[in-house]
Symmetry: C2
């Protein structure tokens, strides 16, 4: 099969179709999403070599005796070893020997087929179209903010960063009645949040005032700087995004105002699928363009343009 | 009265006896403790000018019509303006216009007399000797760790730093059954924690393994480095100590393992006084030496010697 492969450079190349191991299934990929982390892979950030991609929706195509056969699915991307101390303590997502689909030790979703343990699968309801379901993974990541920092309906929350993740987070937080502000640099992205009840600001125009919770989803040092400047005493900064480099943290900026800085990564797929099914989250405005997998290099180039939100790959082989 | 005054340099000098304002009392100071923050004041860190000191026990000496008159007291050190948005939201301790006893805008405890709002006072039970009660403020700060990161009896906890605060924290955490390790650089300090059930290690000898919670109480970049290296995924680092300078934080070190970094400062005086009253915490082994206030400069010099724990000042005038 032909897949989007990274080995120092991205390329569309012929690779063997993966074979599911014990407890695994083979998934025929329908759609896959290009994520900021994939762009970091291109810069060598994760030292990954293999088929790229981890956001997908597809259909189980094997083995023949799998109870999942024919089921449309989304899939959690981390595979723990199952035997180490972290896996045994319920922290398989943090297993030191973990594989991560398209990011670490396991070929990913920018391909016609991928394999995953059946335990990683979540059934996608027939009512949920592929263009919704392909957002399950990023929407789950957005929902995890609610676990990292419980947001009360009385809270004032600032989301920093108007990329795809920041927008999803603002949509998710606003529905429980909290006052949600979104700060970013792209008026046309901010416009996607306003109709949903999010108050939006170009970052330089953010009005004065502090926030109970600030979610840093910009992946930039200036975003973290803004978050720490605007969180109230005893408030929480949720860090959703990483970037290459170090942030010069003043310890007194946390200790004196008793601020918490909470790292936050993957989230609950089941909750994301419920929101997508009920139409409470309609991610389609985030889709910038959809390319066939064969034009994957073009798709990666588009995804790197400033101001582009989600770029999708249609991975179904034209057979 | 003669007090230990800082104005670029510390000096014993004659200052006017303070007059209690509306709602305030005058306290005759019995004992006061020298804290790491006072040593930072000496280095100009807080830009403070005035009578130093914030850890104390004393007796209310005025005004004559105060219901507190004659009562032995400990006192919370922060005074909010009472009217700003933070004060009105229950965050008076973080009021932007706050005064802090001996640290910001208000003369402190290294003097025969100080003034505080009556609302800041906590009565000290007659059973609690002055040498216990003078530790109310630092013990309360240690107890605040339990609020910042609830420690279950099943938890593995590492306390980094074997100064007075680190020792108090280790003593407080160990009593609920948690497995508490203390890492430091002074064998003679670590020896004060061992008999209480704390497993102690010179930092280079800390055995491998991770911790649910790490409390950074060393006030050094290497302490924070150790804390972040040893906290488990989804664990919490409680930052109790500040230092001058910036820590080069790798955002991925928080986001990928979903670690929380929680700033933590002042704590519950009432709880501290209960522990001191019942003898559950006996702070006397922490006392290195007690100087009369007139020898305050010598006391400050002692407090800065490597390996010295708590130095006290006896502030009662020899009248």
């Amino acid at each position: 099969m032909r897949a989007l492969y990274f080995d120092g450079q991205p390329a569309i190349k012929e690779v063997p179709r993966p074979e599911p191991g014990p407890g695994e299934v083979m998934v025929r990929v329908h759609l896959a999403g290009i994520c900021g982390t994939d762009l970091q892979v291109l810069r060598g950030y994760h030292g990954f070599t293999g088929v790229m991609g981890h956001e997908f929706v597809g259909q189980v195509a094997g083995p023949e005796d799998s109870p999942w056969l024919g089921q449309r699915v989304a899939g959690e991307i981390t595979i723990g070893c199952g035997t180490c101390d972290l896996c045994r303590r319920g922290l398989a997502g943090h297993c030191r020997e973990r594989q991560v689909l398209g990011l670490k030790g396991r070929d990913g979703a920018f391909a016609p087929y991928l394999t995953l343990p059946a335990a990683n699968l979540h059934a996608v309801d027939p009512e949920v179209p592929d263009v919704f379901a392909v957002f399950t993974e990023p929407l789950a990541a957005a929902l995890q903010v609610l676990t990292a920092a419980p947001v009360s309906p009385a809270a004032r929350v600032l989301v920093v960063g108007d990329g795809s993740l920041g927008l999803l987070i603002s949509w998710v937080l606003v529905v429980n009645g909290a006052e949600v502000h979104l700060a970013g640099h792209h008026a046309e992205h901010l416009a996607l949040a306003r109709p949903r009840g999010v108050a939006t600001f170009l970052s330089p125009d953010l009005p004065p005032g502090d926030y109970d919770i600030v979610v840093e989803a910009s992946g930039s040092p200036s975003g973290l700087e803004l978050a720490l400047a605007r969180v109230r005493p005893r408030g929480t900064v949720v860090m959703k995004s990483t970037y290459v480099g170090r942030y010069p943290l003043d310890p007194a900026a946390l200790v004196v105002p008793e601020v918490s800085l909470v790292g936050c990564r993957c989230g609950p797929f089941a909750g994301a699928l419920r929101l997508l099914k009920d139409g409470r989250v309609d991610p389609r405005p985030l889709i910038h363009r959809t390319f066939p997998l064969a034009r994957g290099l073009e798709a990666l180039a588009w995804a790197q343009r400033p101001g582009v939100l989600k770029v999708l790959l249609d991975c179904r082989e034209a057979d």
